[in-house]
């Protein structure tokens, strides 16, 4: 069954994969985390938070451009040799495991809190992962299609937030800039983490059919993500005010609760119905990259991929059940935020540095 086209995506699918990887469960805690320092100015922090991700994207694309058919493992191997490549890629795999596990764990908690109060989280986790493995086991092509189609639900669920505007007080967002530059910058560090998603480019780059469009589509994807994040943050501030947000675990879900729409009694449930489809996307996109990287570390061909999708599913499940409660989940989430700085910005800088150095010394011939 395996053939070349199964592991190929169009630039547009890459765009939706990037937005899909970013906008997941993280959006629910974003307004609270950004608001803890920047208060009513957290939306500014959210906007400028996109720039590190853009920098990371540019660096990764610049690096991968020289090796259009290689993924992270192969590039590092060419540049630094087998062992360092092994360490680098293992770090990447563990990081993606954690991101996928966290996004699924957080959403399982949400599911168990709002939808299935008596079902153990582990069961919900298991069902999510069953779906993740089913979605990734046959290759990138299908992941791309899924991300493309599911994007409609994202637009829908954002639109469903708008009725809450009827309870908005624009004074909540004033004074603009009142929180001070220092506080906004503090929040900026946190918001940066929510844009973690560009590092999947390390793996997906080699699969996009038209490489020259990757950078443009990547930037558009981050633009869409930034727009959605900002919109949600602004809505939360307008409706709840900066102070109240701190006391809510997931402010955006509450946005649906207060929206008044006739016929439908509880909007938040309807929203969760839609959001279930969105929350699994980061898990799908990340677990694919980890499965693919493991496969390459072991130097196996793509027709063994299904096996690795199962392996990565099991690993993610094991990681996802480690935290005892939500607090621990959020703690780990902060650490994986730092992981983004290492993988998303550190890796490409180091590798680009080595690449430029080796090219100067003549070890790599100029293309």
């Amino acid at each position: 069954m395996t053939n070349q086209t199964q592991f190929q995506i169009t630039p547009r699918q890459y765009l939706f994969i990037l937005t899909g990887s970013a906008v997941g469960a993280g959006i629910f805690s974003l307004p609270r985390e950004a608001g803890s320092d920047a208060l009513q100015d957290s939306w500014i922090a959210v906007i400028i938070g996109v720039f590190p991700a853009l920098l990371s994207l540019v660096l990764i694309v610049k690096l991968c451009k020289n090796y259009p058919d290689c993924t992270l493992f192969e590039i590092t191997e060419i540049l630094t040799g087998k062992w360092i490549a092994l360490i680098f890629t293992t770090g990447f795999v563990i990081y993606t495991f954690f991101i996928a596990a966290l996004s699924i764990r957080i959403f399982s908690e949400i599911t168990s809190l709002f939808l299935l109060t008596h079902t153990p989280v582990m069961v919900i986790l298991f069902i999510y992962l069953l779906f993740v493995v089913y979605a990734i086991k046959d290759g990138t092509q299908y992941i791309g299609r899924f991300n493309e189609f599911i994007f409609i639900f994202l637009i829908l669920s954002i639109l469903l937030m708008l009725p809450s505007l009827s309870r908005a007080y624009y004074t909540n967002i004033l004074p603009i800039g009142g929180a001070g530059v220092e506080n906004t910058l503090k929040a900026f560090l946190k918001t940066t983490f929510s844009y973690a998603s560009v590092e999947v480019t390390f793996v997906y780059y080699s699969m996009v059919s038209e490489k020259d469009k990757i950078l443009r589509h990547g930037i558009v994807a981050m633009g869409i993500t930034a727009f959605i994040y900002t919109l949600v943050t602004v809505l939360c501030i307008l409706v709840f005010g900066a102070g109240t947000i701190q006391k809510i675990i997931w402010p955006p879900i509450l946005l649906y609760k207060i929206a008044d729409i006739p016929i439908i009694e509880r909007m938040d449930l309807l929203f969760l119905l839609l959001w279930i489809t969105l929350a699994v996307r980061p898990a799908i996109n990340y677990s694919f990259t980890s499965a693919y990287s493991i496969m390459q570390i072991l130097r196996l061909k793509e027709n063994h991929f299904t096996l690795f999708s199962f392996i990565s599913g099991v690993c993610i499940f094991l990681i996802a059940i480690i935290p005892q409660n939500l607090n621990q989940v959020f703690e780990i989430a902060t650490y994986s935020g730092y992981g983004f700085l290492v993988i998303g910005i550190g890796y490409p800088i180091i590798l680009l540095g080595i690449f430029l150095f080796e090219r100067k010394t003549g070890e790599i011939e100029k293309k």
């Binding site: 699918q13 299609r145 493309e148 189609f149 009694e265 279930i276």
Partner: protein
């Protein structure tokens, strides 16, 4: 087993075909073993010519040829000819030529001299003429006999489109398409499938539109079929599918010639089989299953409206009972309070949980539907519906189910019939149980997950290598104009990109409306 071995032996004989002897008696002798057991094969011996007559034999299968034509235009002129023997001897070729060119007035004639070929021709329904001392035989094709007349198809009804449906005869079906599509580029390839049924199968495509690779793939898959018998294109369908384990219909079955012609114009291939009133077109897309010909023949607004309702109907058919279960047994808060009270009141007398209620009624509905097909005449469906209503009333008064669930199940069952494609309708009946199961175990969460699994399954399917869920799955924006919406015809300037083609040009840009 014995029969099979015999057939196998016969097949082996076919591999080393022998030449027919020239003597008529010898010929009859060798043919005898093949045709002796078949009572419907007519062996008619007569004399060729009135002066110096020559012995000749005509063999044909009764019932599949035009008997009157045979008598009047083949046997009669042969008998009436003056001198039969003047061409005999080493000039026997000349005799056959003379007969072929001057005596019999048949369109399709060919000469043969191999034994198995001749036997096969007899069983294919051709007329075989053998003449004393002439080693070659003449094979004539005068197909006839009883067949159904052209009729409106059973399921694919239309209001404003042509009403001619396919019948069981391949030649007629191809002619029906040809009449609609007088393009010299329309190619018809024929092949034979089925070791014993020897069913003629035709692949139709338009040479300068359809992608060569796709046609090669179709041909390859059809050629790889090795089966004893084919009676319907439905069987071919299952044998050439990309994923035979998917419940989805991966090919579209077509009952009407105008739809087949339209499919050809979109760059698809149409497969027809003899003795089957259904054509299949490949590749097929999911969105097609919710379209009808009338969408194109009526105004775009109406077409769009009906299509959107069909999508809603599909949603209802597949998941309305599941949604009901997940709301009633898990999330009553989602139902408005004023509605919840009467539902709860009516449910208070019902002893079962919502799942049992739904499965119970679903079972009854499925049995009524199945029985409706087998009830005599067109009233079958009506009786089914009436019995459904009476049963429903009785069930409510016996407190076996609440009125709400009856509404849900009935809406879902009726929605099934709003799906134009029969195979998709049946599939939706099957999928429903998956959704019911998921919702009964995990409520709204299960419902959502079931849809997710279904969507991922859709994106995984291909039909002849073309993504089945396109233009939604791989998003092709330019094709959205003909999916759940139906834009005006003058927008269709290019062929759909979902199905790759060689020639995307359809029509020039048109002035819209009359200038005042």
């Amino acid at each position: 087993m014995h029969l099979f071995e015999k057939a196998h032996k016969k097949n082996q004989d076919a591999d080393k075909d022998i030449k027919l002897p020239s003597d008529l008696e010898d010929k009859m002798q060798v043919l005898k073993s093949y045709i002796n057991d078949s009572g419907d094969i007519v062996v008619r011996s007569f004399y060729l010519g009135t002066v110096q007559p020559v012995k000749a034999v005509i063999i044909y299968m009764d019932g599949v040829i035009d008997t009157q034509f045979l008598n009047e235009d083949i046997i009669k002129p042969l008998m009436k000819v003056r001198n039969g023997s003047e061409y005999i001897g080493d000039r026997n070729k000349a005799l056959l030529k003379h007969i072929q060119n001057r005596l019999i007035s048949v369109g399709q004639v060919r000469k043969q001299n191999m034994l198995m070929e001749t036997v096969q021709s007899i069983f294919d329904g051709h007329v075989v003429l053998m003449i004393e001392n002439v080693s070659k035989v003449l094979v004539m094709n005068i197909h006839g006999g009883a067949s159904r007349t052209l009729d409106e198809p059973l399921l694919d009804k239309t209001v404003s489109g042509p009403r001619e449906g396919f019948i069981e005869d391949l030649t007629t079906n191809i002619a029906l398409i040809r009449r609609k599509l007088r393009d010299p580029n329309l190619a018809v390839e024929k092949m034979i499938i089925g070791r014993r049924t020897r069913t003629e199968v035709g692949i139709l495509y338009i040479k300068d539109i359809a992608k060569k690779e796709m046609i090669n793939e179709v041909r390859k898959r059809l050629k790889s079929i090795d089966i004893e018998g084919i009676f319907s294109t439905g069987q071919i369908n299952q044998l050439i599918e990309d994923n035979p384990y998917s419940p989805l219909p991966l090919y579209r079955e077509i009952e009407r010639a105008d739809i087949a012609a339209a499919q050809l114009l979109e760059g698809r291939a149409v497969i027809l089989a003899n003795q089957s009133p259904l054509a299949i077109s490949c590749p097929a897309l999911f969105e097609e299953m919710l379209q009808t010909g009338d969408d194109y023949y009526s105004k775009p607004q109406m077409g769009t409206m009906m299509r959107i309702f069909r999508y809603i109907a599909f949603f209802n058919a597949v998941s309305l009972p599941a949604l009901y279960i997940s709301l009633i047994s898990f999330r009553q808060e989602l139902i408005p309070y004023d509605l919840l009270v009467p539902i709860a009141k009516s449910r208070s007398e019902v002893p079962f949980p919502a799942v049992v209620e739904v499965l119970f009624l679903e079972g009854i509905i499925q049995i009524i539907l199945e029985a409706g097909i087998r009830m005599p005449g067109n009233i079958g469906q009506t009786i089914g519906v009436v019995s459904g209503i009476i049963l429903g009333q009785a069930i409510i008064s016996a407190s076996l189910a609440s009125p709400a669930v009856i509404i849900v199940i009935t809406v879902s069952a009726i929605s099934t019939f709003a799906i134009p494609n029969f195979c998709m309708a049946v599939t939706s009946r099957l999928l429903k149980y998956g959704f019911i199961f998921a919702s009964a175990t995990f409520g709204i969460f299960g419902f959502s997950m079931a849809w997710l699994f279904f969507i991922v399954h859709l994106t995984h399917q291909t039909s002849m290598g073309i993504p089945y869920f396109s233009p939604y799955g791989p998003l092709i924006l330019s094709d959205i104009k003909d999916t759940f919406v139906r834009m005006p015809i003058f927008y269709f300037r290019k062929r759909p990109e979902s199905i790759s083609n060689n020639n995307s040009f359809r029509q020039k840009k048109m002035e819209k409306g009359i200038k005042k």
